[in-house]
Symmetry: C2
Subunit: 143 residues, 2 copies
């Protein structure tokens, strides 16, 4: 997928996104995510930020197993509404509990977020969500 | 629904939320929304911020007509991850193109956002989305 340099940079440098998943009954769920972008896929980890249930029962993972279609938004709010901008990424999510893709994602996440350097992101314990964009829509100006 | 004072204040004062809707095929969509909260429902207007299509064909409205179940997240990102907090609102959305509910929503939105005072939010042209929460989940500290 061809994205402009400005949009690529915006995706790479933004610190937080919000991801929607959908359960088997068509009910949506949103969570804020930290993510890394390698130029083609987005990666997010099920990390140690406190969660109420064990990783595999997390709503986002249960939903992705039932329906891998997700939507991610990366946006900036500004009180000057002429400066609002956002990128909506429609995509397919895959759960990577371990292996090469898991390790690569963890490395990318640690590079972007110093917070992850002291945090265990272990194979089999902290699955990674890998998102392949299928459609990207942008609004606003991305230099 | 009983929400703590801290959570009520957070919902009332936050400036932006993100709303997920789902289409008839189970595909999610997210948009950033400005909203007003009257203590029981959230209101968002389809306003004049530039859109690619006429109001009634907007994805969020098409989706809500097919499936009124929505999810709204209001969160704050912080590089100190111990300060992260969010509120997830599951709810049912109704489209109010005109009438009392429309006028009430417009008044609330104009009170919260000075930007709306100079913007036309007309009955029949700028529908309002009224969200009735069915479940609210919070994470983090809300004083």
């Amino acid at each position: 997928m061809e994205l402009s340099k400005g949009i690529q940079t915006f995706i790479q440098t933004s610190r937080v996104a919000r991801m929607a998943t959908v359960d088997a009954d068509g009910c949506p769920h949103i969570v804020p995510i930290c993510y890394a972008y390698d130029g083609s896929r987005l990666y997010s980890a099920v990390d140690k930020k406190p969660k109420r249930v064990e990783a595999n029962l997390l709503r986002r993972l249960v939903n992705i197993r039932a329906n891998p279609r997700i939507c991610v938004i990366i946006d900036e709010y500004d009180e000057d509404w002429s400066r609002l901008r956002f990128i909506i990424i429609h995509g397919i999510a895959a759960i990577e509990p371990e292996g090469t893709e898991h390790s690569r994602a963890v490395n990318l996440l640690r590079k972007k977020y110093p917070q992850y350097q002291a945090m265990n992101l272990a194979e089999g314990v902290n699955p990674v969500i890998a998102i392949t964009p299928t459609k990207v829509v942008s609004w606003g100006t991305f230099e």
